[in-house]
């Protein structure tokens, strides 16, 4: 029982880390990043490949972040000068390209067979203690991310990215180059997604390209839309809600005995769809309120 709750909490923590990154990008800067899973994937593979070759987790995490940042940089350079909605599609395409590379480059990623037996974190601990250690690590990582986010929001840098979100043309008229800030934000969010991917790879222990489909990106989007865009608490609450949607359906089935297992898959996606529609229509500010004032 406890271990199941801890498992749920760990996966939620992984989502929160991604949601914080996306929140920085979309909530604060207005970047419509539809390729978040691409950075998650890059981080997961970087960690998995290194850990399988015996690197310690202390090294795989920063490298996962660095590789994700390195992937974000060229993407930002070429595409952040495009219109917002173009960037949305280009970033979505980017995440698909990442997945295709993971599929094709078998020498590096073992292709579709995936990488199995990724060493677990805190392997010298066992059972619940080990799971708690992973959860603690995630809490620390999320705590650091939130602190960093706070610091950024309160800084001139944060003021400028919010100005970009509110009106990019006006920023250019003041002689500041929005693209420079957007690239940095993209890289920062990518770093969080990369670290998140590293935790994921170590935790699940097996990664394959099919786990990094665009649906993951949309789940994170759903989390921040439900929680409240532009707010740290929104990312937390939204990720929790998302897990409730995803895991709750296991238990929902027993409450809806007339719905068969196969139908459940459709019900699940229908509920996600309805939530997206209803939140955008009736509660665009999410559960945690408007981002006007933090």
């Amino acid at each position: 029982m406890d271990a199941y709750l801890i498992a749920i909490a760990i996966v939620t923590g992984i989502y929160v880390l991604m949601a914080l990154g996306l929140n920085l990008q979309y909530g604060l800067t207005g970047l419509i990043n539809f390729g978040h899973v691409g950075f998650f994937c890059v981080g997961a593979y970087a960690a998995a490949i290194l850990a399988s070759r015996g690197w310690p987790a202390a090294a795989t995490f920063p490298i996962a972040a660095a590789v994700a940042v390195a992937a974000a940089w060229p993407l930002g350079l070429v595409s952040l000068r495009l219109r917002d909605d173009y960037f949305a599609i280009v970033s979505l395409g980017f995440s698909e390209v990442v997945r295709l590379v993971a599929t094709s480059e078998r020498w590096l990623t073992n292709g579709v067979q995936g990488i199995a037996g990724i060493p677990r974190l805190f392997a010298d601990l066992s059972g619940t203690t080990q799971a708690l250690a992973v959860l603690a690590l995630l809490l620390v990582l999320n705590g650091l991310a939130i602190l960093a986010m706070r610091r950024i929001v309160a800084s001139p840098f944060g003021r400028m990215i919010e100005a970009i979100r509110d009106n990019e043309e006006a920023v250019r008229a003041l002689g500041k180059d929005p693209a420079r800030f957007k690239i940095q934000v993209l890289m920062l969010g990518a770093a969080l997604a990369g670290v998140s991917g590293a935790v994921y790879a170590h935790y699940i222990g097996f990664i394959a390209p099919e786990q990094f489909v665009p649906l993951v990106t949309f789940q994170i989007w759903m989390a921040i839309v439900m929680g409240g865009v532009g707010r740290v608490s929104g990312a937390l609450v939204g990720s929790g809600l998302l897990m409730l949607f995803l895991e709750g359906s296991r238990f929902l089935r027993d409450l809806l005995p007339f719905v068969s297992e196969v139908e459940m898959a459709s019900v699940r996606i229908g509920v996600v769809g309805l939530a997206l529609i209803l939140f955008t229509l009736y509660r665009p500010q999410g559960l945690m309120g408007d981002f006007t004032r933090r």
């Binding site: 222990g205 238990f251 459940m264």
Partner: protein, 407 residues
């Protein structure tokens, strides 16, 4: 579905992070043995998952009706992997932690089994799966010897394909594989076996799913002028590929795994296109009485012939084998003791039995050898079975079994 309502509500409360119910609610009942039915009910395994799950439930009922195994009744907790490793990990956690199951039965995709097996190993639980990836046989995945594979490995499938291609007199094979672990596993296994026979594979095309057309892929494979194309493919892509192939006017033959070359394929394409296709499957042990029992149960639960879902036969056998091992290990045996008896009740060297009731009785007299519905069910040192392969040819819209090949 025999799911305990109280457990379910407890689980729901758990998800809501409201562990209101005390630990005692989850305590192991004295006379029960809990197993998890973890199947691909949704996602790409959905054509098989529901049937697999229903067969676990049916077989468990049968065991219970025969008085239980080793003095204990089965209690089954059903979960969906969504054919997705992450969902499967959480489901397995729930089964192990909330439902306290001691064995998980019927994971399907290799990715799913690879993600779940570290959890069952940690919990000291048995994992019985139907995945093809060779990695599941060896450490780290099967370091503890708690994993059992009821399906042929992809390598064995490839060997069977090679046997058949040789027997049918083909000289110039090419391959087409769906780009995932199973698809490539099949064609790679074929290539290895074929080259071991001194042959050469002319062309090996790997294609991505969900394309609006596979003509370019076909063109490349046909350019090598093969006399047969061996595939590692699924139903949807096989449908599209064969339709486009037929429309090129080409006359190459095809050897296709049975999960793709099935009645649905014939229904989708009609008799002209499918004429002369070879359909290869690890066959159920159809002549055996165990298969007859499974078939009857499958027809009753799903309303289709048991042959339509080989994985259903495998999950049926999982329950029976586990029950026989429990019976052999005696009342109150722990998982390790039960695990130690798995080969004793399934491998050659004892009286052949075909059902749990029969085996339970025969165990009193001495050693038994369960002959399963899915195969004769003999586990090698790695916990893998080596089923026989049936070769069918589609003729005038009928899938007709021609012969059985052993590897």
């Amino acid at each position: 579905m025999s799911i305990d309502r109280r457990q379910t509500l407890a689980g729901l409360a758990g998800t809501l992070a409201l562990p209101l119910l005390g630990r005692s609610a989850f305590a192991q009942g004295a006379g029960t043995f809990r197993i998890g039915a973890l199947n691909p009910v949704t996602g790409s395994g959905s054509p098989y998952g529901t049937g697999m799950q229903k067969m676990i439930l049916a077989a468990a009922e049968m065991v219970n009706a025969a008085g239980g195994a080793g003095g204990r009744m089965f209690e089954v907790f059903a979960e969906d992997t969504q054919t997705n490793p992450q969902a499967a990990v959480l489901a397995a956690k729930k089964l192990i932690e909330i439902n306290k199951v001691q064995a998980i039965l019927g994971t399907w995709a290799s990715g799913v089994s690879l993600a779940v097996i570290p959890l069952t190993n940690d919990a000291g639980a048995i994992l019985m799966h139907t995945s093809g990836a060779p990695a599941l046989s060896v450490a780290p995945s099967n370091a503890k010897g708690l994993g059992y594979r009821f399906q042929a490995t992809n390598d064995r499938f490839g060997r069977a394909f090679a046997e058949i291609a040789q027997k049918e007199g083909f000289k110039r094979p090419a391959t087409m594989a769906f780009n995932n672990a199973s698809g490539i596993g099949n064609t790679e296994g074929f290539r290895k076996a074929w080259e071991a026979k001194g042959g050469k594979v002319l062309e090996a095309v790997v294609y991505e799913p969900n394309q609006p057309s596979y003509r370019a892929e076909l063109q490349k494979v046909l350019a090598a002028k093969p006399d047969v194309i061996v595939t590692g493919s699924y139903l949807a892509d096989t449908t599209i590929i064969l339709r486009e192939w037929f429309q090129t006017g080409d006359a190459t033959r095809w050897i296709i795994p049975g999960w793709a070359a099935n009645p649905d394929l014939v229904k989708a394409l009609g008799p002209d296109v499918t004429e002369g296709l070879f359909s290869v499957d690890s066959i159920s042990n159809e002549e055996a009485p165990s298969f007859q029992m499974y078939d009857a149960a499958y027809r009753k639960a799903v309303g289709q012939p048991g042959l339509s879902n080989v994985y259903g036969a495998m999950t049926w056998d999982m329950v029976v084998t586990l029950a026989l091992a429990m019976e052999a290990a005696g009342p109150g045996a722990d998982v390790a003791a039960i695990n130690a008896k798995m080969r004793d009740v399934a491998n050659p060297g004892g009286t052949k039995v075909y059902s749990f009731a029969e085996g339970k009785a025969a165990l009193k007299a001495g050693k038994i050898n369960y002959e399963g519905a899915s195969s004769i069910l003999d586990f090698d040192a790695a916990g893998d079975v080596t089923p026989d392969f049936g070769v069918s040819v589609i003729s005038k819209g009928k899938i007709e079994r021609r012969y059985v090949t052993k590897i």
